[in-house]
């Protein structure tokens, strides 16, 4: 590939450390990995600061106001001010709280949020840990922070925190299912769960056509995006933090640094979802002229701006609407889509070699991509049409009931007037 700036910086440092610790390769490995982990954590925390600022400014502009502009020029020191505030606020722990669980929960959430960055490929050959089960690791880490939410709600010894924790977990656990089901066609087509391989399949290397997976599977991309937004608890799925509803949900009793860690966990999770979406569906770090990491940053910034845009624009969903959407629309459609994709992938193959190995009709890479895309869109629009029809049936039934009730009221009113006269 072209000039890889990160490899240019990392390779000499790696070589230096291994030379220094040549007497023990294990120690060399540990130190290099530890250093990489510290760098990734620091970068994630720094982007968390930048993202909070960006979000506040952009949401403010969408709402026709300016946003923070007092702390520093254009409000650029707002993240710093926020950080100082978080460090110096008092940590009121309720006397009835369960100490161990209460204190451990924010630590676990922040740790798992940051640990998800270990398998994201930032450049060709640059990844925290070259796991060949990267996709599975990501899903597992996502489930890890869910247990910490229950810990937070339970340990607070507060009715509302507990209720908030239950509802949060019901939402997060529900939206894991369409996420996993929609990653399966991608893994099938790539032939490996490693995220680096997923990116290479979308780039012009090893004879691959360089078509990003969003062109192959637009339905999968859309449902993955929706599930990802619901997983992180952002708007429009942020009924967990709706102040009017349940105070502040599972983090009611937290203040100071522990609350800051919850906050950090949420934003870092959102960033991880954005980078995952870019890696799996938009081609990761692939791009023509600029260094790969710059492409990754550009694409990730675009996707995160989409998240912020959705937050500023869409109203919040109700809790039963949210569950209906998941279990009655996304999951059945995802299963149907998975079945269709698996069958099509075997019937229409891309290369002669594949046809000789396992049979099928050869249509070439672009033909296969087109067939996948068209069938995905058919599933999407068919599902939407079914949902629209079900909605219209329900609406007509409702209208009929309302009309009947209005007529009864009219009748009763005219009777009352007649009697009164």
């Amino acid at each position: 590939m072209e000039f890889n700036i990160i490899k240019f910086i990392v390779d000499p440092i790696d070589g230096f450390i291994r030379n220094l610790l040549g007497f023990s390769p294990l120690l060399g490995d540990l130190v290099t990995m530890g250093l990489a982990a510290v760098v990734i954590c620091t970068l994630a925390a720094l982007s968390f600061m930048a993202l909070t600022y960006a979000e506040r400014k952009i949401v403010a502009r969408i709402q026709d106001r300016i946003g923070p502009n007092q702390a520093g020029p254009f409000g650029l020191l707002v993240p710093l001010a926020d950080g100082i505030k978080m460090f110096t606020k008092e940590d009121t722990t309720p006397r009835a709280a369960d100490r161990g669980v209460f204190n451990a929960a924010p630590l676990i959430i922040a740790t798992f949020a940051l640990a998800g960055f270990a398998v994201l490929p930032f450049s060709p050959g640059i990844v925290g840990t070259a796991l060949n089960v990267g996709v599975l690791y990501t899903i597992a880490i996502g489930s890890g922070s869910i247990i910490a939410i229950i810990m937070a709600g339970w340990g607070s010894n507060n009715k509302y925190a507990l209720l908030g924790a239950f509802r949060t977990v019901a939402q997060l656990v529900g939206y894991e299912v369409p996420m996993i089901l929609n990653l399966l066609p991608i893994v099938a087509l790539t032939g490996s769960m490693s995220l680096m391989d997923v990116v290479y399949r979308q780039t012009l290397a090893n004879g691959n056509p360089g078509i990003p997976f969003i062109v192959y599977f637009p339905f999968c991309a859309l449902v993955y995006l929706i599930s990802g937004i619901a997983e992180t608890g952002r708007s429009p799925f942020d009924l967990l933090e709706a102040e009017s509803e349940i105070v502040a949900g599972f983090h009611t009793e937290y203040s100071g640094m522990k609350f800051a860690l919850f906050f950090l966990g949420e934003y870092v999770n959102a960033l991880a979802v954005a980078i995952l979406f870019v890696t799996i569906f938009l081609g990761g770090f692939a791009g023509p002229v600029l260094p790969p990491v710059v492409w990754l940053l550009i694409k990730c910034a675009l996707v995160f701006s989409l998240f912020i845009w959705l937050r500023g624009t869409l109203p919040r969903v109700r809790v039963d609407q949210m569950h209906d959407l998941n279990w009655k629309f996304l999951v059945p459609l995802s299963i149907v889509n998975l079945v269709i994709m698996l069958l099509i992938g075997k019937i229409f193959v891309a290369t002669e070699a594949t046809q000789q190995a396992t049979g099928g009709i050869v249509v070439g890479y672009y033909g296969q991509a087109a067939i996948f895309a068209i069938s995905n869109l058919v599933v999407l629009f068919g599902g939407l049409a079914l949902a629209a029809r079900a909605g219209r049936v329900r609406r007509l039934a409702d209208e009929k009931i309302m009309a009947a009730r209005a007529e009864q009221n009219q009748l009763a009113a005219s009777r009352a007037i007649a009697v009164g006269k």
């Binding site: 530890g34 008092e90 960055f117 299912v177 099938a188 569950h323 009655k328 079945v339 698996l342 049979g359």
Partner: protein, 108 residues
């Protein structure tokens, strides 16, 4: 990576605990209830709906874990094997349709 992230976050918490004021008082240590005195026990009744959603999630989670090997080996599988996998998936589709028709997926 987990260890390093945990250590970093632990150090942050430690630093914060050194920097913040410590003035506990009886009112501050009370459990929060929108500004009034707390009423009743803390442990609310656990609605069975949460359990049902968790159960359905476990079902699909196990299905996904069993489908990952098929996905990874997909390029080398003949159509026959994929048809068997599709049969497996259709049985699970039947499961969720059954749950739907029984009215179990309602949030009340």
């Amino acid at each position: 990576m987990l260890v390093t992230a945990g250590l970093l976050m632990g150090v942050t918490l430690l630093a914060a605990s050194l920097l913040r004021p410590k003035k506990p008082s009886a009112t501050k240590a009370d459990t929060y209830e929108c500004g009034i005195e707390t009423v009743g026990d803390t442990w609310v009744q656990f609605r069975v709906q949460y359990y049902i959603f968790a159960l359905v999630f476990v079902l699909f989670s196990v299905e996904a874990v069993l489908l990952f090997p098929i996905a990874v080996a997909y390029n080398a599988l003949p159509l026959y094997s994929v048809l068997i996998a599709v049969l497996f998936i259709i049985i699970l589709l039947e499961a969720i349709v059954f749950a739907w028709r029984k009215g179990v997926l309602e949030w009340n």
